[in-house]
C-alpha cells in the first residue's frame, strides 16, 4: 500500500504489522527467553507451510473465490512427499505437477460453468482426502532426506523460516501488486466486466490464479513434510481455515480483489505465534482454536472501526 495515502488507509495497511508486533510484545512479556534466534526458530517452525498455504488462498481470494480444499490438498502433497517423492522421485514430481494442473482445471470449471467456488472446492477437498487415504492409509512414510535438510537449514542471524517468509512476501508482492500482469489479475477481482470489456480473458486469469494456488499449495505441503518428516492424510486439514484467516487478517477482503501479500504473510505468522503465546499461557490446545478465533475477531473489529472512521471523514 502506498505510504502517501490518507491516514485511515495507512492504518489499515499497518494493522497486520501492528497485530504481529502486539503479539510479539505479549510473548516477550510472558516468556522473554522466547525472543531469541532459538526461540523464533522453534516458534516459527511451522510458519513456513502456513505462509505458503495462505498465499495459495490469497491467489484464489483475489479473483473473488474461496478455496475450501487447500488443507486437504496440502495434506495430499505431504503424503506424496512422504511416499512417492522419496521412493520414486520421478513419479512423485509428475504427480505433483499433475495436481497443479488439476487445480488449474478446477479454476476453469468454476469459470466456465459459473459454479460457486465454495461448492466445487468443498467437493475437491474430499477428493484430495480420498487420494491421501489411498496413498497413506495410516500415518507414516518418510520425507526425502534432501527436503528435510533443506527446510531445517540454519541460517546466520535470522531463522530460515523468517527469511523464506520475507522472500515469499516480496516475490508475490512484486508479482501481484507491482507487475503489469498483476494489475490485470487483481482487476479481474475488482470489476470482472470491465476487465472483460477491455478485451482480457477472464478464463485465463482464473486459471492462472488457481494454478498459482496449486503451486503454492505444493510448496506448503513439501515444506510441511520436510519439517515433520512423516505425513498423514489429515496432517494439514486445519490449514483451510488458517489460510483464510491469514488472508483476512492481513488486510484482504473476500470480494473485490483487495488483497495484500505482505499482510497475508504477516497474518500467517501472527496466527502461528498466537499458538505459541497460548501455550506459554498454559492454555490447553483444545482451547487454542477458539482463542485464535478470538484474535481474529479483535483484529477484524479494529479494521471495521478504521473503515467506519474513514467513511465518517
Amino acid at each position: 500500500m502506498n505510504v502517501l495515502m490518507p491516514s485511515p488507509r495507512l492504518v489499515r495497511a499497518a494493522l497486520p504489522a501492528l497485530s504481529l508486533a502486539a503479539l510479539l510484545v505479549a510473548i516477550w512479556f510472558v516468556q522473554p527467553r522466547a525472543i531469541s534466534y532459538f526461540g523464533f526458530n522453534l516458534m516459527l517452525n511451522l510458519a513456513m507451510p502456513i505462509a505458503f498455504a495462505t498465499i495459495a488462498q490469497l491467489c484464489v481470494i483475489t479473483v473473488n473465490d474461496l478455496d475450501l480444499s487447500i488443507g486437504a490438498f496440502v495434506s495430499f502433497v505431504a503424503c506424496v512427499g512422504a511416499t512417492w517423492l522419496n521412493a520414486t522421485p520421478l513419479l512423485g514430481v509428475a504427480v505433483l505437477l499433475g495436481a497443479v494442473v488439476v487445480y488449474a482445471l478446477v479454476g476453469a470449471l468454476i469459470h466456465l460453468r459459473n459454479l460457486p467456488s465454495i461448492v466445487v472446492t468443498l467437493g475437491m477437498s474430499f477428493f484430495w482426502l480420498g487420494c491421501s487415504v489411498l496413498l497413506l492409509p495410516s500415518p507414516g512414510g518418510s520425507a526425502p532426506a534432501w527436503l528435510a535438510a533443506l527446510v531445517k537449514v540454519r541460517t546466520p542471524l535470522v531463522p530460515f523460516a523468517i527469511l523464506v517468509s520475507a522472500a515469499l512476501a516480496l516475490v508475490v508482492h512484486v508479482g501481484l501488486m507491482r507487475s503489469a500482469w498483476g494489475a490485470i489479475l487483481r482487476g479481474a477481482g475488482g470489476n470482472p466486466v470491465a476487465v472483460a470489456r477491455a478485451g482480457w480473458s477472464l478464463l485465463r486469469t482464473k486459471v492462472t490464479m488457481f494454478a498459482l494456488a496449486g503451486f503454492f499449495g505444493v510448496l506448503s505441503g513439501l515444506s510441511l513434510v520436510g519439517l515433520t518428516t512423516s505425513a498423514d492424510a489429515n496432517i494439514a486439514i486445519r490449514y483451510t481455515l488458517l489460510s483464510i484467516a491469514g488472508v483476512i487478517l492481513g488486510g484482504g477482503e473476500f470480494v473485490g480483489g483487495r488483497v495484500s501479500p505482505v499482510g497475508a504473510v504477516l497474518g500467517a505468522m501472527t496466527l502461528t505465534l498466537a499458538g505459541s503465546l497460548l501455550s506459554f499461557l498454559r492454555i490447553s490446545p483444545d482451547w487454542q482454536i477458539g482463542a485464535q478465533g478470538a484474535i481474529l475477531i479483535v483484529v477484524l473489529a479494529l479494521r471495521a472501526l478504521v473503515n467506519r472512521l474513514e467513511r465518517r471523514r
Binding site: W181, I184, V193
Partner: protein
Amino acid sequence: MDAPSASAIVQLEGVRKSFGAVRALAGVDLDVRAGECLGLVGHNGAGKSTLMQVLAGTLAADEGRLVVAGDDITASAGVAAARAHGVVCVFQELSLCPNLTVAENARVMHRAFRGFGWRKRAGAAMAAMLDDIFPRHGIDPADVVADLSIARRQMVEIARAFLVTDEPLRLVILDEPTSSLDQVVAEQLMAFVRRFVARGGSVILISHLLGEILATSDRVVVMKDGRVVETRPAEAFTRESLVAAMGSVAAQEDAKRAAAAQPAGEIVVEARPARQADERSLRARQGEIVGLAGLAGHGQTDLLVRINAAAQGREPHARVAGAVAFVAGDRQSDGVFPLWSIAENITVRSLGGLRRFGLIDPAAEVRMAEEWRQRIAIRTPDMGNGILSLSGGNQQKALFARALASDAGIVLMDDPMRGVDVGTKQEVYGMIRAEAARGRTFLWYTTEFDELRHCDRVYVFRAGVIVAELAADEITEERVLQSSFAEEAA
C-alpha cells in the same frame, strides 16, 4: 444528404438486435464521419446504449453490417476488433476496477503499458491527459479508484478512453459522460471534445442534456423504438424541434382518453423526494392511478422505496394511510423467490391472513393460488411448479398477483413491465384499471410513455425531484419529454 460518404469512419447498415421478445434495434443505419461530433438522442429504450454496445463490440448484432475505417468487421466483431480499429466506448455505468489505482486502470485498457517502468509511464500519460481535459482535476495517478468521488471516477474513465498508445484512436463513444460531472467540468469536457474533433477524431455523444448536444455536436441523430428517425445538422434543430422529433411517432396516437371523472377520494399517500427544494409533493387519492414519469433513474424508484418504508413506519417524511404492496421492476434481483413455487411466490405477501393455529394453512394457500391463476391467467399446468418455469411475462403476472391478492390498498409499481410482451401488458393494464375502480390506489413508475396513458395524473421527475405535475388531459408525450429533458442553466 446523409449518403455514407468516403470520409465515413464508421458505417452501420441494417443493424438489428433483440433480447428475447424485446426488439432493441430494428434496423439501424448510421454513419459517423472523420472529424465530427455526432449527437445521439432518444428517450429511454430507444436503443441508444444497445447500438453503442454493438459498435464497441461488447454485444453482437443479430443482423446487419458494421464497417469501421473501410474494413468490414461484421464477422470478427468484438472488443478486440473494435479497439484495433480505433473505436473506444465510455460506458454509462462505471467500468473502472475500484481496487486498482488510476494508473493500473489505464493499464487494464491499454496493453502497451507493460514491462519495466510501466506504472510510471501509465501514470504520466494519465496525468497528462487529465491535465489536458480537466485542468485542476486534483487526481493523483497513484490514487486508488475506490477512494475517488464519483465525478472524479468519471473523469478518470473519460481520460483513459482518450489515451492513445499503440492502437489508433478514431472514434470515442461517450454515453452520458456528464451525468455525474458538475457544470464547470462538463464544459471542460465539451471544449475538449471540440478540440479532439478539430484534430480529426470523431465522437458520438449521448446525453439527455439537449443544450449540451446542440452546442457540441455537428450533426444530431434522433432514435426512437430502435430506429433512427431523424438526422440533421445541429444548427437545423432547436430544443423544441428535437423534443418533437423524439416523440413525434407516438404523438398521433395521443387520442383523448375517456378521462373518467375520478371521485375525489381521500388522500392516502403524500410524499416528497429527499432533494425536493420547493413545496411540490406527490399526492395520491384513493382509487387513483398516479404515474411517475421521467428518464430512468431520476429518483422515481427512490421515492417508491421511501413510501414503502413509510408504510412500515420507518420513514418520517412520507405519509401513507393503509397497507402497501410493492411490485418490483427488477424481477430477478428483488422480485421473485427463485427457488419457490409459483403458489408460494404469490401467497408470500398474504401469509398473515392464511394462518390457522399460528401455522400456514396449506389448503387456504392452495385456494388463493388457484383463484389467482384463474383471475389473471397464469399459463402453467401446476401452481406447484417452480416460478422459474414461467416465462418472464408470466413471472411478472405472478408478482402482480402477489400484490393484488394482498390486503394492501396501495400498490407501488417500480417499472414492472420491462421486458414483458404486449399481450401480457394489455391484460395487466386491464387488471389495474379494474382494481383502481374498486378503490385501490396505484403509484406507477414507468419508462414507457404508452403506460402513462392509463394514469389519472402524472408526476415528472428529473434529477431526483418532481419538476412537473400533469393532469389526465395534459398527459402528452411532448409535455413529458419537455419536462424530462433539462434546459441547461446557460
